[in-house]
Amino acid sequence: MSLIEITDLRKSFGETEVLKGITLNVAPGEVIAIIGKSGSGKSTLLRCINGLETVNGGTISVAGAQLQADEPHLKALRLKVGMIFQQFNLFPHLTVGGNVMLSQTVVKKTPTVEAEAMARKMLDRVGLGHRFDAWPSELSGGQQQRVAIARALAMQPIALLCDEITSALDPELVAEVLAVVRELAADGMTLILVTHEMGFARDVCSRVVFMHQGRVHEMGPPAEIFASPKTPELRQFVGKQ
């Protein structure tokens, strides 16, 4: 049984069709890497899965429920699927703890005491339990991104979408964030990652999806994709990395 089922997904911005019929099924616990050139539609695909973009055709369903564009359905979807962004997007007016607690108390109506316990637990999980009272601006980029992960985890999603979450980081901070993702994968979290970290994709992912011009151009286990790419586009892309 697939957890996320994407069937013939189409998305246009004005006249340009950016996603030209994407079909992708993700099983529970799978870790999927999406790779491809800039502009190939990777971010748009993730944003469609999270309902941040309205789609022009095809269907997306998560845990059996089909994506619909009204607020109650979107909310239900987003409780199941969390998203982490390249730019962290922490709330600058709240402390680290406040960031992780806010949506629990506001969206799930969790009592403050429980929300705080959950926040501390998730911050511990990403190694930042001791920064509960810090402000986002006091943290390094890597730490901010780990807080963003804790914030998403606190909603207890069944899957996480990560859009180039290490691309805005200084090279020396990339490893700490990838270590957290690696642990999530080991714990059985379903993950869809857009990434340029080919080594990481090879080690951690169960499947690699190569996107090219708005289509899934090639897909398979990392060993196959990286060792023997079938299409010239993927061969060129892998060769450049």
């Binding site: 999270n50 941040l52 909310k75 987003r78 998203m83 997007n89 007016h93 806010l102 986002p136 006091e138």
Partner: protein, 219 residues
């Protein structure tokens, strides 16, 4: 004819300054409340209230305050309403301030980066929750300096109400000049009083802006 000492002049002008201050407060607070209500329509999701508020703002920003005062004072008179000067002055300044404040604040809401909307949406928040817990708290910080700065415009704007006969500082200046024939002294003092009202406001706006910028740079 009696002789006026400088003290007499000053005393009369200071008494009238109370009305300038009161009118400024009424205009700023009333305009702030109305502006806030209009802001929610302006950034809301319903299309026709958004358009209506945009039209309202354009009308008040696109015509001189003096014309708005004339229309309120004489225009309503044509329809048989006897509008006292204080009412026309107060109402017009409230409507005028509301238009400018709505527009200033809308800019501040727009200035909150898109990532904040997306992050809060991806956490399951609805529009009202996003506004209340994520966007407005940030927009409010951004809004403080320009809002304080705008209060200077309100104080200066009250001077125009002298033309429809409301006796505030400027009108008192004219009255005192007519009695004393010392226009330079009188208007010199009037200008000085305006400066004493406005300068602390514009200065604090600058200080706030610098402070918030420093805080922002740290983020």
């Amino acid at each position: 004819m009696t002789d006026f000492t400088t003290w007499d002049i000053l005393r009369n002008l200071l008494l009238a300054t109370r009305w300038t201050i009161l009118l400024s407060l009424v205009a700023f607070l009333g305009g702030g409340l109305l502006g806030l209500a209009l802001l929610f329509l302006r950034i809301g999701r319903l299309s026709w209230p958004r358009q209506a508020v945009r039209g309202y703002v354009e009308v008040f920003q696109g015509t001189p305050l003096l014309m708005q005062l004339f229309l309120a004072f004489f225009g309503l008179g044509l329809f048989g309403f006897d509008v006292p000067a204080w009412l026309a002055a107060g109402l017009t300044l409230i409507l005028w301030s509301a238009a400018f404040l709505t527009e200033i604040w809308r800019g501040c809401v727009d200035a909150v980066v898109r990532g904040q909307w997306e992050a809060s949406a991806s956490l399951g928040m609805g529009y009202v929750q996003q506004m209340r817990y994520v966007i407005l708290p940030q927009a409010m910080r951004i809004a403080i300096p320009p809002t304080v700065g705008f209060s200077v415009q309100v104080v200066k704007g009250t001077a125009l109400t002298s033309i429809i006969g409301f006796v505030e500082l400027s009108k008192a200046g004219t009255v005192v000049t007519n009695a004393t024939f010392q226009p330079f002294t009188v208007y010199g003092i009037v200008a000085l009083i305006y400066f004493c009202l406005c300068w602390p406001l514009s200065k604090s706006s600058q200080v706030l802006e610098r402070k918030l910028n420093v805080a922002h740079r740290d983020h």
